[in-house]
Amino acid sequence: MTGYIIRRCIAAVIIAVGVAAVSFLLLHFVGASPAVSALKSRSSPANIAAWNKVHGYDRPLIVQFGSFLWGLLHLNFGYSWFQGQSVGALFAENAGRTAYLSIASLVIALVIALPMGIAQAVKRNSPGDYAATTFTFTLYAMPSFFLGLILIQIFALDLHVFPALVSDNITTTWQAIIHPLQLTLPIVTLAGITVAGFSRYMRSSALDALAQDYIRLARAKGLPQRAVLAHHLLRNACLPMITLIGLSIPGLLAGNLLTETLFNYPGLGLLFFNALQSEDYPVLLSYTVLGGVLTVVGNLLADIAVTVADPRVRLD
């Protein structure tokens, strides 16, 4: 077990360094130096060359990558010349709000998707199952911002229940938490898209589990349906979900980007969107690498969690 975890960790570190290298190369190819965004209107070729020399952007590529990697190891994500702040400070400022949005919608998505998938599996091919499948299939094919727009139309413009945009007064994570009305639509949007992916897996996973002998045994010994589902089915059907949650990180990051942009909610996604528009490459590079590392860590944690939760998983 320990050996397996160590091997997986080493592989994860290698992949994380690879992620940094590939992202660095691609962004170097798209925009080699942030000189233009730093110098703004004073960016003549001579000024840019001088700026690059001062800030080390004229060094060989491998040296630049080395110093970027060295900085990452010290949690130094670089400096956003456009915003006049270190990227690390920008991340720290926005991370809490994004984490709140992501975790709240992930939890809500699980609370909806797990029972729904089990109910669909137990009552499979019933009208309710077809209705739920149609619903999730539609959500699955829907761009997340489009779901958000429909929710804005119904709940903000027609019914006036929730605001169409998150208020500018929401500046801290705590304020986001104590003003639930402001964040209802963003959270529901992100949760809706996540549910669409999860419940399909949950349904098929529960279908597999329902056919197993231990369910037949639990029923044969006279357990009520409720106990069979809650004690025997749920825990087994959830096992594949652990991996799925680990794999859902890129989707959540992309969902954050679109939801935050749509609702104008200041988080890491909106930061990335603004950086795209101002071609603020240090922010783009660091957030891409951070997203990649989060993905690697998510997969690693999911793999370890599965081996802990399911003793039948054989370690290679």
């Binding site: 290698i14 992949i15 994380a16 690879g18 992620v19 290298a21 590939v22 992202s23 691609l26 962004l27 798209v30 925009g31 299939f137 539609t138 699955y140 094919a141 829907m142 761009p143 911002f145 489009f146 727009l149 804005i152 139309q153 413009l157 169409a164 890129p250 990051l253 992309a254 980007l257 679109l258 942009t261 749509l262 990335f272 969107f273 795209l276 528009q277 071609e279 783009l284 957030y287 891409t288 997203g291 990649g292 993905t295 690697v296 997969n299």
Partner: protein, 315 residues
């Protein structure tokens, strides 16, 4: 050896031509006439009602977008700014957009580009992924390990982020947008094909081809890829769906095609303003078309996967 021949060796079943030839029950019980793998898959696919619905929807939208302009004439190059944001009337079935273009005609044009980018990027991703996966699986050992770690690395970089960064500079034309999407979508097909090749390469017909002196490229293109085609075809449909969704994201965030070219995604770029101004005709028809096409592709993909899965097949 033809594709069909290879398929027969796997199934162990000779082809008797059309599956519709009536059979008489011979002595010794009922015997069902068996066709080749591809015919069986096709029959299975067509017996799936949802799949047929998906296929009909997709064909309808292809016809609507590419043949529609022949019947519903609109001017999509010159516009009168005074006609912007008109509500639907008999003259403009879905009103006009912010620039004064007829929205119904624009949905057709935008659909053409969306479908073209979807198909083209899926094609690029499939070609790269199939060859990469087949080479990796056949080579095995260290080469395979290195090639697959590279796939792991690229898979860990969030797709939307890297595509958006590239799209800020290079997404102006149909070709470049397809290229960006295709170049970052070949990872899943590469993994699928490699997995398939790993099981195929120890089969007798591949070993036989190798012993007969077949070169590596002959093995890959003549024996391995044709036999891994079923997973590839299933993946293409999902890939088209994903690409069309990605176009929507790029367009919504404002990094799509250069004006006046537009895909369904770009038409949703101002969706937020349109919704708050009450211009529903600029948002819901386009979005609805997009969702329906993505759904149709997903339905077809699901059905194809079931149809090719020998274990699920009724025989």
């Amino acid at each position: 050896m033809t594709d069909l021949g290879a398929e027969q060796m796997i199934e162990g079943v000779p082809s008797f031509g059309s599956p519709n030839i009536p059979t008489t029950a011979p002595e010794g019980g009922e015997v069902q006439l068996l066709a080749s793998g591809w015919r069986l898959a096709l029959r299975e696919f067509l017996s799936n009602r949802l799949a047929v619905v998906g296929l009909v929807t997709l064909v309808f939208f292809v016809a609507f977008c590419f043949l529609g302009p022949l019947f519903y004439h609109t001017d999509q190059s010159f516009t009168n700014p005074l006609n912007s944001d008109l509500a639907p009337t008999a003259g403009h079935l879905l009103g006009t957009d912010d620039n004064g273009f007829d929205e119904f005609g624009r949905i057709m044009i935008g659909g053409q580009t969306a479908l073209e980018i979807g198909f083209f990027s899926a094609f690029i991703a499939t070609v790269i992924g199939t060859i990469y996966g087949a080479v990796s699986g056949l080579a095995g050992g260290l080469v395979d390990a290195v090639l697959m770690r590279f796939v792991d690395i690229l898979l860990s970089i969030p797709f939307l982020f890297i595509v958006l960064v590239l799209a800020t500079k290079y997404s102006a034309t149909i070709f470049s947008e397809s290229l960006i999407l295709g170049l970052f979508s070949w990872l899943v097909p590469a993994r699928l094909v490699r997995g398939e090749v790993l099981t195929l390469r120890v089969r007798d017909f591949v070993v036989a081809a190798r012993i007969m002196g077949g070169t590596q490229s002959r093995l890959v293109f003549r024996h391995l890829i044709p036999n891994a085609l079923s997973v590839v075809i299933v993946n293409i449909t999902f890939q088209i769906a994903d690409s069309i969704l990605a176009i929507a994201y790029l367009g919504f965030l404002g990094f799509g095609l250069a004006y006046p070219a537009a895909s369904w995604g770009d038409m949703l770029g101002n969706a937020q303003t349109a919704v708050s101004s009450g211009y529903w005709w600029l948002v819901y028809p386009v979005g609805g078309c997009l969702v329906l096409v993505v759904m149709a592709c997903n339905l077809i993909g699901d059905a194809l996967r079931d149809a090719f899965d020998v274990r699920l097949r009724r025989r």
